[in-house]
């Protein structure tokens, strides 16, 4: 049965003591890419994937990112003001990761029915990324495996300030057919805060078209088309501070052997285009069982050019990907809810050097992630939950340019327990603890013994990091406070500590992460 607005509200009322919504999948480390634009700040965090959500996310809008299903979203209409603070710091990191990575964001969003068949959701936000003690690099999206990275010999702080705009529109064309579009627009500017003070400018546009069709009352199918267009410009200029100081620009084409240029002026352009298409589906036979899934396939390519006066291609990077997701929720009785989530991701990327049309780099990775959850409603005020999962990850890299080859396979195990308590009709809290451990199955690293210091002393840690087993502990608290019968304040705190235990390279290091999100929601009548 397709959920109507009345059903949604009734469902919410009947489960009021458990009114948290689920965040988008945060556990899966490797679901980078093109489908995160509109989902980043959409739903409130709990840290759980399969439970403590009442199955609200089990439709093709939330699980499949099909904007056509905005119509069938379980959201109330509301205006939201949200502040996000994230901090990650420590020495257990890849070489090219900043020692401290901070994200600050402020977002305003709202959703409103235009009429009975049209709905609109829009958001506007400011974001600030602060990267402290960042060695060399200055590419915003440095962690995509694109080997063509530019930097300089300095280690310092950088910040990237930007605005984000999102608009979603959906229309019910007929009783069974709906359509929707999603548009994301991001512009930001970056600055490295010490001489030579390079600057960067980014403009990202992502559009998504979705269609949805209800085959019957229980099953709906849809498809999506994605187009992404991004530009990046990184500029080194003759900064006054660097006038009497030597500037060394590093242009990486792989892990090793960067071009080391003693010059003050350089401009790098990156033109990124992505295309993807996908299928979404959702099955909902009753309130007891829900199932949603998607298959999404696409690619992203990046043309990199240097020189402002006469731009010439210096790199080409292409990444093909396939994502599959399946998620279900089953309510066995009034007090027992279970959930299951599976995700598969496959990425095959390669890079070439355009002037010579020669293959420089290849990377193939895949991951399977499976999470099962069990939620027990103990009484009207208390419910408890347990989640457990496993991720299987494999990555193979062949850096022909640098003569560096690596392959790794590991499993990551995950367990999380939580308890939700209603202090009163209007106040509830969810407290949870999670532990995650990585265990390696296979690891190989071969590199040129005549490698330069840029690899041996630095970028080899990008690879060693990946093969390092670790133990992660996370504590989180999520609370919801209803005020004046119409408004709501939600906040989420999460603290994680990651401790490696199998590597001399990262001995006595750790990394900690702290997230704080607070949101104020006002219902729109």
């Amino acid at each position: 049965m397709m959920l109507s607005k009345e059903n949604i509200l009734r469902l919410r009322d009947s489960n009021k003591y458990c009114s948290f919504k689920i965040c988008f999948l945060m556990l899966f480390l490797f679901s980078l890419g093109n489908n995160t634009f509109s989902q980043d700040y959409k739903e409130f965090e709990t840290g759980f994937v399969t439970i403590f959500n009442q199955g609200f996310n089990l439709d093709s809008y939330y699980f499949g990112n099909n904007p056509a299903y905005l119509n069938f979203s379980l959201d109330d209409e509301f205006l939201s003001l949200k502040n996000v603070t994230k901090n990650s710091e420590g020495e257990f990191k890849k070489f090219y990761t900043p020692r401290t990575d901070q994200t600050f964001g402020f977002f305003a969003s709202g959703k409103k029915s235009i009429d009975s068949i049209q709905k609109f959701k829009g958001s506007f936000g400011f974001s600030k990324l602060v990267r402290k003690n960042w060695d060399w690099f200055f590419t915003r999206d440095y962690d995509t495996d694109n080997p063509f990275l530019i930097g300089d010999s300095t280690s310092c702080n950088s910040r990237i300030n930007g605005i984000l705009i999102n608009a979603q529109y959906a229309i019910t064309i007929s009783e069974k057919l709906s359509a929707g579009v999603n548009l994301d627009y991001i512009v930001d500017e970056g600055l490295k805060t010490v001489s030579p003070r390079p600057t960067s400018e980014h403009r990202d546009i992502h559009g998504k078209l979705g269609m949805g069709y209800s085959i019957n009352k229980e099953l709906s199918l849809g498809f999506t088309l994605d187009v992404t267009d991004k530009n990046e410009q990184i500029s080194y200029r003759e900064d006054e501070g660097s006038l009497t100081q030597e500037t060394i620009i590093l242009k990486f084409k792989g892990y090793d052997f960067p071009n080391v240029l003693r010059k003050k002026v350089e401009t790098r352009y990156s033109y990124i285009n992505g295309y993807a298409s996908g299928i979404t589906f959702a099955y909902n036979n009753s309130d007891d069982f829900k199932l949603a899934g998607f298959i999404n396939s696409g690619f992203e390519k990046n043309n990199i050019k240097d020189d402002a006066l006469d731009p010439k291609g210096v790199g080409f990077w292409k990444d093909d990907y396939l994502e599959v997701g399946l998620k279900s929720s089953k309510q066995f009785s009034k007090n027992i809810i279970t959930g299951l989530s599976y995700r598969y991701l496959k990425r095959n990327g390669w890079a070439k050097y355009p002037p010579t049309d020669v293959l420089y780099y290849e990377r193939n990775l895949y991951s399977h992630s499976l999470i099962a959850g069990y939620e027990q409603i103990i009484n009207r005020d208390i419910s408890a939950g347990l989640e457990a999962g496993i991720s299987v990850f494999s990555k193979k890299e062949d850096d022909h340019y640098s003569v560096v080859n690596s392959s790794i396979q590991f499993n990551q195990y995950f367990g999380k327990i939580g308890i939700n308590y209603h202090w009163s009709e209007d106040v509830s809290s969810l407290l949870s603890y999670a532990v995650s451990a990585r265990a390696n199955h296979k690891y190989e690293l071969n590199y040129n013994e005549k490698g330069s210091i840029y690899f041996v002393n630095a970028r080899i840690y990008d690879l060693i990091y990946l093969e390092t087993a670790f133990l992660q502990h996370s504590f989180s608290l999520t609370s919801e406070v209803n005020i004046w019968n119409s408004d709501m304040v939600l906040f989420h705190l999460n603290y994680s500590t990651i401790n490696p235990f199998s590597s001399d390279a990262f001995k006595n290091t750790r990394r900690s992460e702290f997230d704080f999100i607070i949101e104020y929601r006002v219902k729109v009548i």
Binding site: E175, L177, E246, N259, A276, S277, G278
Partner: protein, 399 residues
């Protein structure tokens, strides 16, 4: 509302379309760059050295140049590979990155070989690669390459041995301590009288240069050594320092150099220039702008010529110096890998020194290849391989 049946048909069509899109590759439809078939560093290149002089034919019955010393220098990374050709005149190299390689090939002819060839025991004859100075070696290019070699007798007797142009560290925009140093590479006394030092003309704003002029260097800054014939000898292995201002610059800039003992000074008598009366002045032939002799701090080119100043040919606002009169020429660039933006003809200098930024106190000095008896500096007519960067200038001597 549209008819439900029509929607079913429409939707089935769309569904079939999306399956097709997924089953074919998006990349194919959108026509993106194909993945290259050739992989970096996998190719073995074979370079065959062929003699145009006929010497090898006389000595060995074929035109293949055996026992030649070959240096390949990667333009982007700067690594050098030193190889020797085999009896078939072939060198093989594998595992290198795709790049433009600056190639220098030298086959010195022994006196015994020259006796067979010409009946004389000449010792200063060699075969060099005059025509092919840069090779593009990429996995996608041909793996068999021929390099032609021609005979050269001797070499330039007087060469530019050092150029210091960037200015010292830590003294703001101080730039008056520039100099050029020349060196007698030969085994006999040479004379500097009336020898010409010219700055090769280029306009960085417009990109105008005359690199491809078939006959002439273009210059707007031409100076000559004083003397009438044999007034200023330069001994074998002697360095001669020509300073922009022959003073102890450390008084003005602590990290600069003492040029008060320079051999010559560029003094521009129509401008408020410094003149050390104890040092002989270079003679300005032509320089219309500036208050001093001034070479580019990061990018520029200098030539040393024995052309008569009286025979200079005017061209626009420049004068022309024939290539045939050039003893030596050196180009240096802020980014020496950008050989496509050279300003000096490749016949004079196939590459570029440089890679030095303003006010870093660094200098460019020719590489020493022998110091037995007297110094021999590298002179392959290719500044990419002939010069190196030194951290502090060494005026009037080798560092």
């Amino acid at each position: 509302m549209m008819n439900t049946r029509m929607f079913k048909i429409f939707y089935k069509f769309l569904f079939a379309l999306i399956i097709s899109v997924l089953s074919i590759s998006c990349s194919d439809i959108l026509g993106t760059d194909p993945k290259p078939e050739k992989t970096e560093r996998e190719i073995e290149f074979q370079i065959t050295l062929k003699d145009n002089s006929g010497f090898m034919q006389i000595l060995f019955g074929n035109d293949k140049v055996r026992s030649a010393e070959v240096t390949l220098k990667s333009n982007l990374l700067g690594n050098e590979y030193n190889l020797t050709s085999d009896s078939n005149g072939v060198i093989k190299i594998k595992g290198i990155i795709s790049d433009n390689y600056i190639i220098t090939v030298t086959r010195k002819m022994s006196s015994e070989e020259m006796e067979i060839i010409s009946g004389t025991t000449a010792t200063n004859v060699k075969l060099v690669n005059k025509k092919t100075r840069i090779l593009q070696l990429t996995a996608a290019s041909p793996v068999n390459i021929d390099v032609e070699m021609d005979m050269v007798v001797g070499g330039s007797s007087i060469i530019i041995s050092e150029i210091y142009a960037c200015g010292p560290q830590g003294s703001g925009l101080y730039y008056h301590d520039k100099y050029v140093e020349v060196f007698n590479q030969s085994d006999s006394v040479q004379y500097l009288d009336k020898m010409m030092i010219a700055i090769v003309y280029t306009n960085s704003n417009t990109g105008l240069h005359y690199r491809d002029d078939p006959e002439y260097i273009h210059s707007k800054s031409i100076w000559i050594f004083p003397g009438t014939g044999k007034d200023y000898p330069i001994q074998p292995g002697q360095f001669v320092l020509c300073a922009e201002d022959a003073i102890d610059h450390r008084m003005n800039a602590p990290n600069s150099v003492d040029l008060s003992q320079a051999d010559f000074e560029f003094y521009k008598d129509d401008a408020p220039d410094i003149d050390n009366p104890a040092i002989p002045n270079m003679i300005k032939i032509y320089q219309t702008s500036g208050n001093d002799w001034l070479i580019g701090g990061e990018t520029g080119a200098l030539i040393l010529s024995n052309f008569s100043a009286d025979s200079l040919l005017p061209f626009d606002d420049q004068f022309l110096i024939p290539y045939r009169s050039v003893f030596d020429g050196v180009e240096y660039k802020a980014d020496p890998t950008k050989l496509d933006k050279k300003i000096l003809n490749e016949g004079i200098d196939a590459g570029s020194a440089g890679g030095i930024q303003f006010y870093t106190g660094k200098s460019m000095e020719r590489i020493l290849i022998s110091d037995i008896g007297r110094k021999i500096l590298k002179d392959e007519n290719n500044s990419s391989v002939d010069f190196m960067i030194i951290n502090a200038p060494s005026p009037g001597k080798y560092h």
